[in-house]
């Protein structure tokens, strides 16, 4: 295998007795869009700051093309960064902000001018060069910040929750912008967010952080369809967790008993459970069907509330054991409307698309 572009090795950061990052190791290929996803305090920002040079790791290393960055001060790392808060220089115009990294690098005027024009057109703010940041909307300010961060062609772009201060519509607009810029420039992006939708929309790969460790790293699809733990399953997408008792496993296919006494077989598992072990069965809301299919298991529920969301319908149902679950059947409208009256009935799911986790 070739040398990874950016490599984080056994990175550890402790603040006194509190360990914010536990021996995190990731290899990131060139041109990758990797998102650090996780709840606040999970160590994702600390890891990013260690790459930026704002925080010195307790141990471990950060290597760019095989060379350690740790002894390099921030201003010599040649890394681009967009911050959570607006960090434009308020006393400089938009064009001067974008030119700033080139000016401190003492680049010739002609090059600065050309590059600023190029960057402003990349973020589609060509006509805003002479404005001051104070006269720009939040979304425009973050686009200028993006242009500033990319002006010196950094090999890596760090983004620390850059959209968290924006409203939903603007967020989506700038997400599209970021994807386009990633495509056009080929820059390696490390993106930090606590928003799973943002992570799924934007990234090639997602590293899901929990308590300073990487819980799982993979594509959005990997994390959604093959969650490594209950934490991953609950953080990415919506999930229902049904208490269950493990009965037996034959050839990686488990048989379990749910709380209402019904027995389900054919649950795919990748770990060992003992007989009688308490477990939790995860079923995605959209994995439920209103009609039985081949090899589906049935679940007796009572529909207690339904809401219409346009593309799909959301149903709150109560199991026979009294647990409320979230059901979003993917089926045609006619079936959905016919099937969803507040009533006792059976819903169905494919046990092979459900996951079993230890309780």
């Amino acid at each position: 295998m070739t040398e990874p572009f950016l490599s984080i090795r056994d990175l550890r950061k402790a603040f006194g007795s509190f360990v914010a990052v536990h021996d995190v190791t990731i290899d990131i290929p060139k041109g990758e869009f990797l998102t650090f996803l996780g709840p606040s305090g999970s160590g994702k920002s600390t890891t990013l700051y260690a790459i930026a040079g704002f925080q010195h790791p307790t141990s471990g290393d950060v290597l760019l093309e095989g060379r350690s960055l740790l002894s390099v001060p921030s201003h010599k790392r040649n890394i681009g960064m967009v911050f959570q808060r607006y960090t434009l220089f308020q006393h400089l115009t938009v064009a001067e902000n974008v030119a700033f990294p080139l000016r401190v690098r003492r680049r010739p005027d002609a090059e600065v001018k050309r590059k600023v024009a190029e960057m402003l057109s990349l973020v589609r703010l060509e006509s805003f060069g002479t404005r001051y940041p104070g006269a720009l909307s939040g979304g425009q300010q973050q686009r200028v910040a993006l242009a500033r961060a990319l002006a010196y062609d950094p090999p890596i772009l760090l983004m620390d929750e850059p959209l968290s201060a924006l409203d939903k519509k603007l967020r989506e607009e700038i997400q599209a912008e970021i994807r386009r810029i990633h495509r056009e420039t080929g820059v390696t992006i490390l993106y930090v967010t606590h928003d799973q939708d943002e992570a799924l929309h934007l990234s090639d790969h997602i590293a899901l952080f929990r308590d300073g460790r990487i819980e799982q790293i993979g594509t959005g699809e990997d994390l959604y369809l093959r969650p490594a733990s209950e934490f991953v399953a609950s953080f990415i997408g919506n999930s229902n967790f049904l208490p269950a008792e493990h009965l037996e496993t034959v050839n990686g296919s488990a048989t379990i008993r749910l709380a209402d006494g019904s027995v389900v077989s054919g649950v795919r598992i990748d770990q060992d459970f003992s007989h009688g072990q308490k477990t939790r069965l995860m079923v995605r809301p959209e994995a439920f069907r209103l009609r039985p299919g081949p090899a589906t298991a049935g679940l007796a529920v009572e529909f207690i509330d339904t809401a219409f969301f346009g593309e799909r319908r959301r149903v709150i149902a109560r199991t026979a054991a009294g647990q409320e679950i979230d059901v979003r059947p993917t089926s045609d409208m006619a079936e959905a409307q016919e099937g969803i009256a507040p009533s006792r009935q059976q819903i169905f799911f494919d046990p092979a698309a459900a996951f079993l986790f230890p309780a």
Binding site: A52, G53, F54, P73, S74, H75, K76, R77, N78, I79, G80, M81, F83, R85, T87, F89, Q90, H91, F100, P101, R103, V104, R105, Y132, P133, G134, A135, A145, R148, A149, Y152
Partner: protein, 286 residues
């Protein structure tokens, strides 16, 4: 300093317009406007009507020297105060708040200590046989006592010390308003600490420097006690000269003219600052 107070929302104005403000207005006219007008009148009427007092002040080499000296001291004091105050203000801005308020308290406490006491303390420290000269000679850095008193050096040291809080306070306000992330952004953009200071921190703190600088400059122009005690006779400043004109020479006309010139210069500087900082606000959004 309080130009903005006039732009209060209507609700804060008196319920019946000017009527409610009348007592305060009378007070201001009686104790501020009337004396200034009286001052102006005296300067053009005593001892005989005419502008001869001003002609004397502008035409005489001795007075010109005092004016020059006054502006020189005020300029040097302001410059040195800015240079000394900036690191202190920066430290206060980035310190943990608990520690910061202790340091802040110490600075304020020094402001509350009697001015005369502090100036006499400097005399003890700075004189030929004072603590500073003796220490420097003891450790062998100098063989002759440095002339630290009765000259510009003494005045500058003493006045910078007294003016520091007036510079630090507005500067801390400005610096605290700067997001530390802005400086991190500058660093990642490739700015060395010096570049970040010169191109980002300094321009962003300019409003605070302007406000504090104007305050210090204006206060220095009219300062009396410290220049008189630490400066000696050859470094007389305007306030000292006015005192001498009125107390020793009983020349009220000349003293009033000098005081009026000082007032005009002060007002001109204030207007200039309003213009500069105000204009900056309009374009820079600071």
């Amino acid at each position: 300093m309080s130009g903005n107070l006039l732009h209060r929302p209507p609700i804060l104005r008196g319920p019946d317009g000017i009527g409610g403000a009348l007592p305060a207005l009378i007070l201001i006219i009686l104790f501020f406007v009337v004396p200034v007008v009286a001052l102006l009148l005296r300067s053009v009427t005593e001892p005989v009507p005419g502008l001869q007092n001003y002609a004397t002040l502008f035409g005489h080499g001795t007075y010109a020297r005092v004016f020059f000296n006054t502006f020189l001291v005020a300029t040097v004091v302001t410059a040195v105060t800015v240079i000394v105050a900036f690191p202190v203000a920066w430290m206060l801005a980035i310190m943990p708040p608990a520690l910061g308020s202790i340091v802040f308290g110490i600075i304020i406490l020094s402001m509350w200590t009697n001015l005369l006491t502090r100036t006499y303390a400097w005399m003890v420290l700075l004189q030929r046989t004072g603590v500073i000269n003796r220490t420097l000679m003891d450790i062998g850095l100098i063989s002759e006592p440095l002339p630290l008193i009765n000259n510009l050096t003494g005045v500058t040291i003493g006045m910078v010390y007294i003016m520091l809080p007036f510079m630090i306070l507005p500067l801390v306000g400005t610096l605290c308003a700067i997001d530390p992330m802005t400086l991190r952004a500058a660093a990642l953009c490739g700015a060395s600490p010096f570049d970040a200071f010169r191109r980002i921190l300094l321009p962003l703190s300019l409003p605070g420097i302007a406000a504090g600088g104007l305050m210090v400059f204006v206060m220095s122009l009219g300062y009396f006690v410290t220049p008189t005690l630490l400066g000696g006779t050859s470094n007389m400043m305007l306030a000292g000269m006015i005192a001498q004109m009125i107390q020793s020479l009983l020349n009220w006309g000349l003293g009033s003219a000098a005081a009026f010139i000082l007032l005009l210069v002060t007002m001109a500087l204030y207007a200039l600052q309003l213009r500069l900082v105000g204009a900056k606000r309009m374009t820079g959004g600071i």
